[in-house]
Symmetry: C2
Subunit: 470 residues, 2 copies
């Protein structure tokens, strides 16, 4: 393995142990010398491991003493258990609850812990406006022309170029643009599934995916999912005879923030390919890693074109632009046909604007900044939750993304907590939104994509107090 | 009836007789005095009738003699017969041909008689660019925020206000925005139909509708359609027991350019409502009338919310913006749900830009100009086709819209003509594209949305010569 990756591989392993409580707050880490011996690496590589863990705020160094696990990074709050949804597919869609919570979007007088996108304060709005203006100048006929069916060529080139960072090795011709990430998932599901099919997903799962699957007439099989490593491979294996397709969010999914280890990704891809079951991979959060390196995707291990890799800029740059894409593997013809008959093409101007934003390197700068902010926010949230939330609270350890998953003790019903919190102008996303079954009623998702402030800290305290009173 | 409408009602009747050859080129029209007596109208109203017919270039006045049917407006070429598709639904989709012809889009070195949108030369590009820039300034967070689910409020208000002109009387709350007209049709079909359903449509029909219906698993029933009055009511009546839904383009549909008389619209709405069969009405060409007045829609006669009225700005203003809308009647909840789960929302910036363009009155100005150009183009095409095309050629009498339908004698295969014409850098839309059956093989559609020029005249001559040689 190339040494550039070696240090981060080792750092990731240690980070994993810290996040999962194998290494606890205050624990001393092995010395640089020991680390060299254990892993057969150079002093320099070992030092980079520690620098990386420090950068992630997971450890701190004490002069003359060595490195210690940070108190914040290894929260005292335990991790939620692996989810145990029922093995049968069912469909008690939490539609009303979802509508109620989504209905709060855009309300300025609310603290929106419930949203799943970064706040506008974290986005490069002025630069984006300039890109829009430039696009109307650069595009033939000011962007009034139909975009080509496959989508903006420069955008596809940039997405392909960026795929090298996660082992995608895509070419521009492998990609089709869409009107946002949900549109990519919708076309993918319509291309490979039909009403009555059974689809395997993570549990808890993004409500939009649940609703889309139900709307298309699929039976939904929610599978046990670990809060840090994602879907349980054994559970997926056992489900194989029952399922026709699979949709996963392997990197920093919402609400758990889990990230499937590479071995898991590879195992899932191999398993599904062997049984001819297509895999739709939603990678909208993949660029929002807290560590040093962009995680790989299932698509990185896809040799047979069996993975439909979907992503967008909605969670990182501009939700309202509706710019997304798919690398549909061997399903490209079906995808192009679907895009044609359902939409003709995507909006020209916004695709061109995003293409240019990526092309000038502004996107990488922005992402670096955004990741730093989210990582800091995460630490602030940990501190506040540890301090203010009731005894028995458990909490996820997101390794990236925009979401924190909080599990209260069984007595606290978060759908009721939602109503209480709204009276104090606080909106949360109750756990029941993330499943079609009767589970997660004592859980909630908190968005960490809001700019941190004393006000936010106070709102978390209020929320904690409400929970304590229940 | 209000006298403002009376004159246009009478003018429309006379126009209809001229276009259908009841009144022939050179025929003298009744005098103003006779017209007053016949219809019980005032002199002023009668004069307005003749002014209106003159404005449409259908008649001309000769001093001291009266009014005569214009030679151009009543072309010598006969009208094609009412189409007679087979009564059974079938699905020989002309996919390859459609891909081939659509693949020519955007190629600068071709004369694109094959496209179905107005040329960029006919669009207000500079003004639209300004609207885009203004939108990024006016929208919260520069348009990076998700648009509300139902869509831009100002846009919906403007579309609702404009609906008064055709008797729609819609309110902003009746409307949902979409990403273009095809997206409106797609959501409508998905909301009310399911795989295996049979859908009744006009024949010939826009290829996008054929492909969409097949893609959604519908059986397609093509119904006999008259080139000026649209779908045959009796044929629809007989089909009722077989069909689950109906999709019509009542105003200036492509390729025929027919416009259903109000009585037909009303009859269809009543018939379908009686049998609980929903009607999707595609009205994307409705604003492109050659006469004095915006035609009504089926939606104008919809008392039960059974009509899903779909339209867009793609045929009039900016195809690449992807801005459309639906008034879904009683199917509003299903439509909102579909829009949410398949797309979350539409692109914010382009909706705001179009809303403002409509709001400032620029749209009405632009439409007035565009309609005049299309009407003039139509006259030029008539002249060229009459002069250059082989004996036995028949031609539609569009009363608006962007398309001319040409029927050659049976020996001339337009799919073969397409290949010949392409060698001379001319692209046409062969008739076989507009049906799932083996019909219209001696027909073609010509777009009249190109700026008229001697070059275009020459290309029509070349095309005529090629046809003569076959």
């Amino acid at each position: 393995m190339h040494k550039d990756f070696l240090y981060s591989e080792i750092a990731n392993k240690i980070a994993f142990q810290i996040r999962n409580g194998v290494l606890k707050a205050g624990d001393r880490l092995p010395s640089v010398r020991i680390l060299c011996q254990e892993h057969g690496i150079s002093m320099n590589t070992a030092k980079r491991v520690f620098l990386e863990l420090e950068a992630q705020s997971l450890i701190n160094s004490k002069p003359q003493s060595g490195y210690f696990v940070n108190h914040l990074s290894s929260p005292k709050l335990p991790l939620p258990e692996t989810s145990r949804p029922l093995s049968m597919a069912n469909d008690h869609e939490p539609d009303e609850l979802i509508s109620k919570v989504y209905g709060n979007m855009g309300k300025d007088d609310l603290t929106l812990f419930s949203i799943g996108i970064p706040s506008g304060d974290l986005l490069p709005l002025a630069k984006l406006k300039k890109e829009i203006v430039q696009s109307t100048r650069r595009l033939r006929e000011g962007g009034t022309e139909y975009e080509s069916l496959q989508g903006n060529l420069r955008l596809r080139r940039m997405v392909a170029a960026r795929s090298l960072a996660w082992g995608g090795n895509l070419s521009e011709d492998d990609l089709i643009t869409t009107s946002g990430g949900m549109n990519a998932l919708s076309f993918s599901l319509m291309a490979i599934g039909k009403p009555g099919d059974t689809i395997a997903i993570e549990s808890p799962c993004y409500p939009g995916i649940l609703q889309l699957a139900i709307n298309l007439g699929f039976k939904v099989l929610e599978l046990p999912t670990h809060p840090t490593t994602g879907i349980e491979i054994d559970a997926l294996k056992q489900a194989i005879p029952k399922i026709n397709l699979c949709l996963l969010v392997p990197n920093f999914n919402t609400p758990l923030g889990s990230c499937m280890p590479d071995q898991h990704k590879q195992a899932v891809v191999t398993l599904l390919a062997k049984h001819g079951i297509p895999l739709i991979e939603d990678d909208v959060y993949g660029d929002l890693y807290f560590g040093s390196q962009r995680p790989k995707c299932c698509k990185s291990f896809d040799k047979e074109g069996n993975v439909l890799w979907c992503s967008s800029i909605s969670k990182t740059l501009a939700p309202g632009y509706r710019v997304g894409w798919i690398a549909p593997g061997k399903y490209k013809d079906q995808l192009l046909k679907l895009k044609l008959v359902h939409s003709i093409s995507s909006t020209s101007i916004v695709q061109e604007a995003v293409a240019n934003f990526l092309n000038t390197g502004r996107y990488e700068n922005h992402l670096r900044h955004l990741r730093g902010t989210l990582r800091d926010n995460y630490q602030h949230y940990i501190q506040a939750i540890t301090e203010y939330f009731p005894a028995g609270t458990k909490m996820s350890r997101p390794q990236g993304g925009l979401a924190l998953w909080v599990e209260f003790n069984k007595r606290i019903n978060t759908t009721a907590l939602y109503d209480l919190a709204m009276k104090q102008r606080i909106s949360i996303a109750p756990g029941r939104m993330f499943t079609l079954q009767n589970q997660f009623e004592n859980c909630m998702r908190l968005c960490i994509g809001l700019p941190w402030s004393q006000e936010l800290n106070f709102k978390l305290k209020q929320l904690g107090n409400l929970a304590k009173m229940m």
